[in-house]
């Protein structure tokens, strides 16, 4: 618990948490425990440890709970009227106790952590206050009872989450010529033609794209992501009706999450309110009728994955698909670990068994007995029937898929390394966590696979050779979905997906992909099974049509242009620390400028400005040099686009072209810009900052100043919005100095594949 706290709490709380004001109060542990949320829990969090870190915020009408883009480390729990009533009554009771105790003057023992220190006068005032409030709360309760259930919800709404964005404002006025041009040529098509109906935020509900509002109801919890991995606030929450919110910190949240009951309840609300949006975001489900959808909804199951655990692996048969409910999913290609039949050639088949023989004792150390037995059967087989082959594969995969590293092999990475003295394994394991217990699924499987490959040099197919370097295709956040196409087309999985828990070394400096100090967190998914889907497919005409469309689109869509050539990372460049330092290897569309040719005419930048509607450049001809090349500041389409991690509103994702795409509803929190290791994402000022709407203003009152959205992140989209999908900068360079290259092909000579 302490560890988690360390990881979560920022240097000073003031930076990320609202300062208290006088309506806010701190509750004693008992009071907290008394709240319905907590006393339903099996194991209540230990509030005693941290007095003053769970705050009861009084939301006066029009109070600004949190504003989008701000740093946040806490989640908000909106207390139901019943709860607050109970609480108040309790407090009144306590106060009375104290008073009479004072009157009698006896018994000095503490009754209340805070009230004890108040003077008589103050206590009286407070009592009076509380009593008034209780009265008022009663009124409200009656109101709830009296009304029938239909507008019950609307009554229970106490706050609204707003998004301050201007989807299509902030387009600069362009010159006549430009307008003429764009009129003539339909090149500058706007990419976000397909705007989702809702923008997922860090709350129970998603934000409607039209109104940019989402209601928040009593008893709901928002700000989980901020709380769990310090994502900035994804929306501005304004109290629309007097209420109380409990601001909780991570450890409390964790306990909530771990609790079964609470979870059920949460799932319930999710099914009720968000599921639709999320599932409907998928084009195929757009025009389902409600009852059709209802049927689908029943067949849907909500699943969790602990961080680092694999959701599915490349080349597995795809039997279902997922929608991300919360958390982050990392999609990696060329990252499978299991052996597949297609990897095997006859020669391999022949030699595998014989080799298994001489590693049996190591295997015996490395795996559970039953797998060991399975494998033993094949030891002195000479020729394998297909049947046997299957079973062998099965056995091998079982070996690879083992859920843990047996102690016999070693508790620590170093032990393992010396246990198996192979530099190949060595290299692979180097980056892994210290204790083998902390290894993620992927890491473990990689290790096992390598282990086999190492011991059966001729028998086992070489994964690295077959796959090539791993490429992170994308990171998926709340509301995104994956695996559907494979399922529909009945193809095996095209990539490996695993629950990515966001490494978190404090708010300001994040170290992507180093899992030090990571807190186990969870990824919640919606799973839609194959047969359910197919049943629906049979029934629904529309769906069939849609699916046909998708299939067609998929077939003729130009495949993502990212050629992965198998390259030995032993080229000249890689040794040079410079190459490492500049991270050129990441570049799939690395822009280089040949300084011998470049006359610094700036045509590329102009082209860049011209080819984007907002008239902003994504390209800055400033940057480090690598031999005779300048590496300018622009997106290089990283193998591992860490910029995508933790966008609070999921506004940054990959486009069809594999490019990084920042959608219109960017709220200008600097996350992605800070995240990009190569400074390729720039925060551009918005010429006319987005303001609150009039009624929101009136709600907030005259002199509450709220941070305007005056920035938005801008990144090179490789000109994918243009009909011809090639980057304008290269196209417009008259001196053919500008290049876009795949670093791994450009700097290293590719070695031909060994099959």
């Amino acid at each position: 618990m302490k560890k988690s706290v360390m990881a979560m709490l920022p240097a000073e709380l003031a930076d990320v948490a609202e300062p208290l004001h006088r309506e806010d109060e701190l509750l004693t542990a008992d009071e907290l425990k008394s709240l319905s949320v907590f006393d339903e829990l099996k194991k209540t969090p230990s509030f005693e440890k941290f007095p003053g870190f769970v705050v009861l915020r009084h939301g006066a009408e029009g109070r600004l709970m949190c504003s989008q883009g701000d740093a946040g480390a806490t989640a908000f729990l909106i207390l139901t009227t019943q709860d607050i009533l109970k609480l108040r009554q309790g407090q009144v009771a306590v106060i009375r106790k104290i008073l009479e105790a004072r009157a009698t003057g006896c018994s000095r023992e503490k009754r209340h952590q805070y009230f004890d220190d108040l003077t008589k006068q103050e206590l009286h005032d407070r009592e009076q206050k509380l009593i008034n409030e209780i009265g008022w709360l009663h009124e409200r309760l009656q109101l709830f009872q009296s009304k029938d259930h239909v507008d019950d919800m609307s009554l229970r709404q106490v706050a609204s989450a707003n998004l301050l964005i201007d989807m299509d404002g902030n387009r600069p006025r362009r010159g006549l010529l430009h307008r003429l041009v764009s009129a003539l040529s339909r090149h500058n098509v706007h990419t976000d033609a397909s705007r989702p109906a809702s923008i997922p935020i860090d709350g129970p509900a998603d934000i409607d794209t039209e109104t940019l509002h989402a209601p928040l109801f009593e008893g709901e919890l928002f700000g989980e992501m901020s709380c769990m991995n310090r994502a900035p606030r994804s929306a501005t929450v304004i109290v629309t009706r007097e209420c109380y919110m409990l601001e909780i910190i991570r450890n409390v949240l964790d306990t909530l999450h771990n609790d079964h009951n609470y979870k059920k309840q949460m799932d319930q609300t999710y099914r009720q309110r968000v599921l639709k949006n999320h599932v409907r975001r998928m084009s195929i489900f757009e025009d389902l009728t409600d009852d059709e959808f209802a049927r689908l909804e029943d067949s849907i199951e909500l699943v969790d994955f602990d961080s680092g655990s694999l959701i599915f692996e490349e080349h597995e048969p795809s039997d279902c698909f997922y929608v991300v409910r919360s958390g982050l999913v990392k999609v990696v290609s060329n990252a499978w670990c299991q052996v597949h039949e297609m990897e095997f050639t006859d020669s391999l088949w022949n030699s595998i068994c014989s080799e298994l023989a001489n590693v049996m004792q190591l295997i015996s150390r490395a795996c559970s007995p039953e797998i060991h037995d399975k494998l033993r059967e094949f030891v002195d087989e000479t020729t394998l029937t297909d049947q046997q082959k299957q079973t062998l594969l099965q056995a091998l995969n079982d070996f690879i898929l083992q859920p843990n590293i047996p102690k016999k092999l070693g508790r620590k990475t170093v032990e393992i390394v010396e246990a198996i003295g192979s530099e190949q394994v060595n290299a692979a394991v180097a980056g892994f966590p210290e204790a083998t217990a902390n290894w993620s699924d992927l890491e473990r499987r990689t290790f096992y696979r390598l282990l086999l490959e190492h011991n059966c040099p001729t028998g086992m197919p070489r994964r690295a050779a077959n796959a090539g370097p791993r490429r992170t295709l994308t990171y998926l956040g709340r509301g995104d979905f994956f695996g559907e196409i494979g399922m529909i087309l009945g193809q095996p999985r095209s990539a490996t997906c695993y629950a990515y828990d966001h490494p978190d070394g404090g708010y300001d400096q994040r170290i992507p992909d180093s899992r030090t100090g990571a807190v186990p967190s969870r990824v919640e998914l919606v799973r839609i099974g194959k047969q359910e889907f197919h049943e629906l497919l049979l029934s629904s005409q529309k769906l069939q049509h849609r699916v046909a469309q998708v299939v067609a689109k998929r077939q003729n869509r130009s495949e993502v242009k990212s050629t992965v050539s198998v390259t030995e990372i032993s080229g000249v460049g890689i040794q040079s620390p410079e190459f490492e330092r500049l991270g050129l290897i990441q570049g799939q569309q690395l822009m280089l400028i040949d300084l011998d040719r470049c006359t610094r005419c700036g045509a590329c930048v102009e082209a860049c400005v011209h080819s984007h509607d907002d008239g902003r450049t994504r390209l800055y001809l400033d940057g480090p040099r690598f031999d005779k090349y300048l590496v300018p500041l622009t997106c290089r389409k990283c193998l591992d686009p860490v910029c995508m991690i933790g966008c609070p509103v999921g506004a940054i994702n990959r486009g069809d072209n594999g490019e990084i795409l920042i959608r219109d509803w960017c709220i200008g929190c600097r996350i992605c810009a800070d995240q990009c290791p190569y400074g390729s994402i720039q925060m551009n000022e918005l010429k006319n900052p987005v303001e609150l709407s009039v009624e929101e203003k009136s709600l907030l009152g005259p002199d509450t100043q709220i941070k305007k959205v005056d920035e938005r992140a801008v990144v090179c989209d490789l000109c994918s919005s243009l009909t011809s999908q090639d980057p304008s900068c290269v196209y417009a360079c008259p001196h053919d100095a500008a290049l876009r290259v795949d670093a791994r092909e450009f700097f290293f000579e590719p070695v031909q594949e060994r099959s």
């Binding site: 330092r581 500049l582 700036g602 930048v605 102009e606 400005v609 902003r616 450049t617 800055y620 400033d622 940057g623 480090p624 040099r625 590496v631 500041l633 290791p677 190569y678 400074g679 390729s680 720039q682 925060m683 551009n684 000022e685």
Partner: protein, 496 residues
């Protein structure tokens, strides 16, 4: 140092919206070019608006046309170049012949030429807008265009050389017709009837002392060789002409003692007796009675009349020579009878003496001043007396004033050469039958693109004199030109 700063560090220093600031380079370029374009366009337009088209001239006009420089429409009514391009025909010109012929009537070259005269555009040969140069200076190519393979309306030309490519190449310019003629002794002439040389044909006949051959029949006997004595003065060869005082007149400089240039110093004036011959060849007739007295250089009738008159008077006045002027001479008064009349025998004697005198005059030699002077008609002229008749007549001499009427030549511009260097054989020529015109070969010595080596050495390194056709030939028959154009000083056009 940007070379070892990382992208990340550098990213923090970039000016994000730098491209919003105007790009100085582009701005300046843009505006200057706008300005430049504007200025140039406007200035052109201005000139145009002011009707000052000289800018648009394809080039300065030649002197005679300078006056029209600013008025294109004077000559250009229809604009050819586009049509020329479209039809790929170089013979479409922007100038209409009619417009030329209002001032110039370019007479026909040959009636039977192909293409017909009226089909050739003036502009085809006469190039304007090439500055102040002679519009009649044509390049040979123009002539050669036809003359390299000469066709006429009736078949290939019989009259002229059919294939002339160049002046000075072999098979270039043919020998002058006169020379060709003179050289041959065949019966019929090689000349076609339309050849300009026909004008001198009448001067030729087949006759001769030894062998019959075409030669000049000038009906004058003149022997250059006899007149010109060869002599060496201080080692230098000179020719002389024997004067009355038996002295040489030096002719080394020129033959102008006898052959005078005309007013414009182009051609040579014809010889006349009084000026050139009379001095040495007097026409005496009666040294006893009338010493030193000559008959006039006229027709026989005049001569006879002169003589009759002379002798009659002499008889009438007895011994008194009527020529001593006397105050008491009685003039014949009209209406009154003459004082004296001849008796019959007196008349007879007069007649006899006249005939004697005539005879003397007609003979070609008699003595005077102590030596045998040659004179009398027959000496140069051929005197004819039909048999049985007393009256005789002299065949009129015919010497052409110009041998080649179609060509032009300037003796003047050749004055730096001695006459005999071209008119070779003059010194030794005895008979008038010889034609002393220089042959084309003589011309070719200088007028050639490849001068002979000795000439080159003699004159220093020279290229030959010009060989253009238009040097000698005139395309238009100038004789056909009228005088007095249709315009008056106000520039108004009056139809003739």
């Amino acid at each position: 140092m940007s070379s070892n700063r990382t992208s990340r560090e550098l990213a923090e220093r970039v000016e994000i919206e730098f491209h919003r600031r105007p790009n100085q380079l582009r701005h300046v370029a843009w505006w200057t070019s706008l300005l430049a374009g504007f200025v140039s366009a406007v200035s052109l337009a201005f000139a145009f608006a002011h009707g000052d088209y000289r800018i648009f001239d394809a080039g300065p006009l030649s002197t005679p046309h300078k006056m029209f420089e600013n008025d294109c429409a004077k000559c250009h009514k229809n604009w050819a170049p586009l049509r020329r391009l479209v039809n790929l025909d170089n013979n479409i010109h922007s100038v209409d012949n009619k417009l030329c012929t209002t001032c110039h009537d370019g007479p026909v070259h040959h009636n039977n030429q192909i293409p017909a005269h009226h089909n050739i555009s003036c502009a085809f040969c006469h190039r304007e807008h090439h500055g102040d140069q002679d519009l009649t200076r044509m390049s040979n190519l123009h002539c050669i265009l036809c003359h390299s393979d000469l066709k006429t309306t009736h078949g290939p030309s019989k009259t002229f050389a059919r294939t002339i490519d160049l002046f000075d190449s072999e098979g270039g310019h043919p020998e002058f017709a006169v020379h060709r003629l003179w050289a041959t002794d065949s019966e019929q002439t090689t000349l076609g009837e339309s050849h300009a040389a026909q004008s001198v044909m009448s001067y030729f006949q087949r006759q001769g002392e030894t062998t019959a051959r075409w030669q000049d029949r000038a009906r004058i006997r003149f022997n250059h060789a006899a007149h010109l004595k060869e002599e060496r003065k201080n080692g230098k060869l000179v020719y002389g002409l024997v004067g009355q005082d038996v002295q040489f007149t030096d002719l080394s400089r020129s033959c102008q003692t006898c052959h005078l240039l005309d007013a414009e110093r182009r051609y040579i004036l014809p010889i006349n007796y009084e000026q050139h011959c009379a001095e040495c060849h007097p026409l005496f007739f009666d040294n006893q009675n009338f010493p030193g007295k000559e008959v006039p250089h006229h027709e026989p009738e005049l001569v006879r009349g002169f003589l009759t008159d002379l002798y009659t008077l002499q008889t009438l006045d007895g011994r008194k020579p009527i020529f001593q002027a006397q105050p008491e001479i009685v003039r014949r008064i009209p209406g009154r009878q003459f004082r004296q009349e001849l008796t019959a025998e007196e008349a007879q004697s007069v007649k006899a003496r006249v005939q004697a005198a005539e005879r003397v005059a007609r003979t070609h030699s008699h003595t005077l001043f102590g030596y045998e002077a040659e004179g009398g008609c027959r000496y140069c002229h051929t005197v004819k007396q039909p048999l049985g008749t007393k009256n005789w007549h002299i065949e009129p001499p015919n010497i052409p004033v110009r041998w080649m009427s179609h060509s032009r030549f300037r003796h003047d511009s050749h004055r730096f050469m001695s006459c005999t260097s071209c008119h070779t054989g003059v010194v030794n020529s005895k008979s008038t039958g010889e034609v002393l015109l220089p042959s084309i070969k003589v011309c070719l010595q200088c007028h050639t693109s490849k001068p002979s080596t000795e000439m080159a050495t003699a004159w220093g390194s020279i290229t030959g004199a010009r060989t253009e056709c238009v040097e000698c030939h005139t395309y238009h028959d100038r004789s056909g030109e009228h005088f007095g154009g249709p315009f008056d000083v106000t520039g108004k056009h009056r139809d003739k």
